[in-house]
């Protein structure tokens, strides 16, 4: 069985690589045929017209498409995504300066979403019909329906403008460098509280709703009734049977959600002025920074594939019959 799994893993890695290359190549052509000019900012009455031509040539955009493509593939295979037009630095250096923040924000938010989602569904399941259960069933739809940017603005208004206890934006204070280690830590915590909350609250509700419904559904099945009638204690029924069966579909959703978070939480990043992958990618698109767009897409693609792969592995760990699905 383990050998079979290894083969499947190798196959999965190979198909993922092919998928990534296809994605990147598709994007290369899409960018070349889409309207807009990376040298647009050099086209100005205050600058020489020939400067724009020279810049365009230095980007290699005056070469035939096939030649551009060959150079692109050669660079790609050697791990060189080129120089960002906008940042004047190697693309990977730019991405790696933005990625850590996105990884932290996404991980924190993901942990809160899944952790609280699971906890709330478990608690309300155990105390079915209790106050918390009734309250959550009423407000979950409202919270879920509120767009994250509205929630973010609401949080800013309450905590930053009205109470004035939390910063309204940014990752750090302007005098961050003057703080000692503990000060820096708390500065980060204070600045991340509102973005993480606004990003996580709708997610908590999604996981809660999804898991709770699955648990109810499992709870109504015959095998659960059979176990209970045979005298199994409630903890065993819940932890060994209901939760493993109810959580399986949620893991797929979690994989997709984490992938989206890792690609950048654009709205949260814009509202809270945070330097993440979402803003980086959008700015690259608006500025027609072709190498950076491809780099961002590639890295996001890698993260999404990796996360989904791990989600599949966890699903396999829970249900060994899943191996073919992987």
């Amino acid at each position: 069985m383990k050998r079979g799994l290894l083969n499947i893993l190798i196959k999965r890695i190979f198909t993922s690589l092919v998928l990534l290359i296809l994605l990147t190549v598709f994007l290369f052509f899409l960018l070349r045929i889409s309207p807009g000019d990376p040298a647009q900012k050099f086209v100005s009455p205050l600058l020489s017209h020939s400067l724009a031509e020279k810049v365009r040539a230095s980007f290699g955009l005056n070469k035939p498409l096939t030649e551009q493509f060959i150079i692109f593939i050669k660079n790609l295979l050697s791990g060189n995504f080129g120089i960002s037009y906008q940042y004047r630095m190697p693309v990977l250096d730019v991405i790696f300066s933005f990625l850590p923040f996105t990884l932290i924000l996404a991980s924190l938010s993901f942990l809160i979403q899944t952790g609280f989602g699971f906890y709330l569904s478990y608690i309300t399941f155990r105390k079915n019909g209790g106050i918390l259960d009734k309250l959550l069933s009423k407000i979950s739809l409202v919270v879920y329906s509120v767009p994250s940017f509205v929630l973010a603005l609401l949080l800013i208004y309450v905590f930053s403008v009205w109470l004035n206890i939390l910063p309204s934006a940014d990752l750090r204070s302007v005098d961050f460098e003057d703080l000692n280690f503990a000060g820096k830590f708390f500065d980060y915590v204070l600045h991340l509280l509102l973005p993480v909350l606004s990003l996580s609250i709708p997610g908590v509700i999604i996981y809660y709703k999804y898991l709770r419904e699955n648990m109810d559904s499992e709870n109504g099945k015959n095998y659960i009734a059979f176990l209970r009638s045979n005298g199994y204690d409630e903890n065993t029924v819940i932890w060994k049977h209901i939760i493993p069966n109810a959580i399986n579909p949620v893991i797929s959703v979690a994989g997709i959600e984490l992938g989206i978070l890792l690609s950048g939480a654009l709205i949260t990043e814009v509202i809270f002025n945070l330097p993440g992958m979402g803003r980086l990618t959008i700015n690259a698109i608006l500025n027609r920074d072709f190498p950076l767009i491809i780099g961002c897409t590639f890295v996001s693609g890698v993260l999404i594939i990796l996360v989904n792969f791990f989600a599949d592995l966890i699903k396999y760990k829970i249900d060994k019959r899943m191996v073919e699905g992987i």
Partner: protein, 549 residues
Amino acid sequence: MKIKNYLSIIILIFLLFFSCSKNTERKKRVVIGIPADIETLNPLYTMNINEGRISELIYLGLVGHKWDENEGNVSSYPLIAKTLKWNTKHNALEVKLKDDVVWSDGEKLTTEDVVFSFDVYSDPEVQSRFFDMFDNYYLKSDKQIDLEKSFEVISKDSLIIHFRTSAANLFDVDMPLLPKHKFEGLKRSEYNTSQLNFQPVGTGPYKLKNWLRNEKIVLEKNKSSFLANKEMIDNLIFKVVPDYNSRLIQLKKGDIDFTDDVRPEDLVDLKKSENLETVIIKGRTYDYIGWSNIDQKLWNDKKIVRPHKLFGNPVIRKALTMAIDRKLIIDEFLNGAADLAVGPVSPIFKNFIDSEIKPLPYNPVKAKEILNGEGWKDTNGNGTLDKNGNEFEFVLNIPGNNPRRKYSANIIKENLKQIGIDVTVQPQEPNIFFNNMFGKKLEAWIAGWVVPIPIDLKPYWHSDLEKYFANCSGYQNKKVDELLEKLETGPDEKTQASIYKQIQRLIHKDQPVTFLFWINNITAYNKKIKNIAIDPLGSVQRCWEWRLD
């Protein structure tokens, strides 16, 4: 036991929290809110306003500029130069450098740096923003300055710059100087991506302390600069806050101390804040409706000029201007914080503006009469004017990210509908919009220009459409061309004023575009900042003279 553990954790958190005091003594600092991060600090490549204004605090040129409010014009003064002396023919400038100018790494600035800088700026391989702009110098065939003919180095602190023509002026020598000892080891084609873009070495009053991409740029006092003084602000922090509303919230909260491009509708609210000061100055940015004077397709396909079927006639363009209620846009959208525009010369240039030209009145009845007189009548009764089977209908393009132009477009659409013209408003993604506008692919559009200082109209209004691509409407008038060319011969200021006035009259008569309005610049800052001079040259200019309460 459990309670003990919890208590220990809480005490630890409190200890950490209260130990967060700053390591260093609080320095004098001002936080300036900017809407986007900059791309480079290297003056070779600074393109946008913020790059320019930050970089020019680090790198200085031989001359500086000041706005003269009384004259309504810019005046130059020696900055790195100690003295500047023109010869009698006005084609050679003797420059003596100040004795105490050193780079921020301690090296002394010499005439070698001056010559090197001009060489680099004009080098095609470097692709600097000043490339191809040294027409008054002796040039090689590839447009690079001929150093042997143009520069005569006398000593380490004295040189003579020889010009090809007597039309040269101090704007020809105002480029920020570069440290030769830092650049010369690098390949010129790699300046664009070199580390010097992020680790600048200049002679200005400030130097770069820290740059966190998409967050902030921190400048600190450059104590070795000849402009540095004890009272000046220690740190200038340019904080990136892309969202306009967040910038205002932070300004009110005191998180930032200074921001410009404030919208008129927020002025009343900002004035209520006791700690804020607001300054309104006349702008040099105008919005206009571009009418393609020429058949764009024929021009793009065959480079042949033929009048546009709708907008090729100046009488029609005049009628269109008269049919549009420009004042309504100013009152409704800009809360009155703009002036009706009559031509391409801003009212700030007091000596050059022709104040006798009055805006065409808003008169839709007269506009319709003019159109009827030109043969545009609603013969088929469908509500739209027509002539020879062609309906008077067109697409008005706007950049999709600009609410002001969107608002203007809707007013224009309604106004023109009243006189029987069918307008379709089409927003386009900005990059695509400007690509189309400069490529002369649009028949009507709303855009804006910032009039440069010193004033330069040639790129926008000269008939040479291949060379002057910013003449997007394809306007052609030989008399205007002659006058524009005459300005390049370096006439005295009185003659210049007369020429500018003639140009304005001709353009007003031809109405190649409909000039909408000059937008006022509104700056808001914390009252703790003193000695600020905000003028058309920029708000952060000469900020080494700012003081803190």
